[in-house]
Symmetry: C2
Subunit: 323 residues, 2 copies
Amino acid sequence: MLGVNEEQALAVDLGGTHIRVAVVTASGQLSHRRDIATDAPDGPDAVIDRMARLIGEGAAEAGLGDDVPVGVASPGPLDTRTGVVLFTPNLPGWRDVPLVDKLATATRRRVALANDGNCGALGEVRFGAAKGVDDLVYIALGTGIGGGIVTGGHLIDGLRGMAGEVGHVVVAMDGPRCTCGAIGCLESFASGWAIRREAELVSRTADGEGILRAAAGGPLHAGVVAAAARAGDAAALQILGRAGRALGAAMGAFANIFNPKSIVIGGGVAHLGELLLEPARAAMASYSFVDVRRDLTISYSALGDDTGLYGAGALALAQFPRP
Amino acid sequence: MLGVNEEQALAVDLGGTHIRVAVVTASGQLSHRRDIATDAPDGPDAVIDRMARLIGEGAAEAGLGDDVPVGVASPGPLDTRTGVVLFTPNLPGWRDVPLVDKLATATRRRVALANDGNCGALGEVRFGAAKGVDDLVYIALGTGIGGGIVTGGHLIDGLRGMAGEVGHVVVAMDGPRCTCGAIGCLESFASGWAIRREAELVSRTADGEGILRAAAGGPLHAGVVAAAARAGDAAALQILGRAGRALGAAMGAFANIFNPKSIVIGGGVAHLGELLLEPARAAMASYSFVDVRRDLTISYSALGDDTGLYGAGALALAQFPRP
């Protein structure tokens, strides 16, 4: 059970559709959960008010003092040095929002901010699949691809806290345009939207029969492609094989750059499992030194949908340690 | 002048053709230089004996006590945790050589070891073009491409000290095979050998006239291609443009991953200057977020041929600080 003196934090997972709040303890207990709709179209101030209200409710219910800090996992890019969210495609109207200042004022608490991918990396090394690991690359495969990197026990955040964009590294300098505007990013091959794009293209051809059958009249998405692939459909297997190969190429680059102990794959698209990871692991050998692969573990996130909450908690506990 | 109490280190730059030794002070003075042929075919023990002799001579000449440590910049890959050079293409017979143990025994000094690229990064932030910078990507463009990364003021060395291989990151997942065995590495586009390979191929065609003229009957290499490009030769400009574009793609990926303050370009091929950097800078905008480029400085190494010595000195000073 929770020790009376155990350090705690209030964790906020700010998403495009939901705001989630919970109390996280230093030993990884998650309690007093709250979850409401973000209603992002109402704009930043309304969303920040909702966050503050949820934090207040959770803190009151858990009987937390004013000294318990808040950690926020937010979509990015954001500037952790100033606590400003620069913009985020999933939250309309969010441009240069001083989230830390506003939330600190509204809650009268210390507030730590990082993007959800970086929080995820912190959560994995503190509570998750890479517990105790000093050198981690965390890749969150969702509709987009985010992530974060821990090296020598420290999160890489860079000059303004914008580091760790593992989805936006080139894997094909003459590849397709990414939604970020750049060319040939990992995300433009292995994300949910990239897999859907390929499925839509192939569904217009005779090769797309198996995928259309799996969709059963519904919309195409990565899960549909996975279902078709499991039924042995060649086009679906080819789409996931290509996505996996791009993922493996990036993982190989990360292995050579970071010599990590662990690569953890999280996010919704990670549910495709070995359909994506098997070709990724195979490809990785063609994109990295054998010596950096020797002690490297590749695993799935153990935190699932709570990665953001665990990560936000880990962030606050790391940034505001109790004296 | 050198203060009596200033901290010092013995720096060793171990190369395929030369061993260089010098005394480096904490304020960046380099003195008591020595330089002999590596004579690598004699094997590891003979080379280590030569290193130890040069260190002894330098230390005696400078009047250094036994407590002054040694830093070695070595070709890699190597395991800095155990002090073992795993293998190195330019030093025949070097496989699993316990360099730190052997050199410590021979010199009776503390010995720090890192690969030359990682040392270069340490040298640049301590003494060079990125002095005082906490977040640096250093890219050494030579026959091959090495480098190192400093983030939050710390060198990224990873689980076994093999991190920082910035030349061996994918830029084209379906690109050419690299000498490391992997596919589409930055090195297979922008290194000295890659530029020479392109020059040799184009020299067999009618487009190769300008390059052959610049070679004047001598061997083809990056300098020849640069000379032809300066004379306006289209094929030479195309070769360097492509190499620069690959470099820019990798620099963009590094900007998104590390959000660095500084990217420093060193190594012999850096002498091609803007012929390579101009297309690299232009391409970088297509491979990175505008926000991470805003405060980023791209510059040339200020340490030149002494990068290895400065870096080895910085390594020893960091690893063995005077109490």
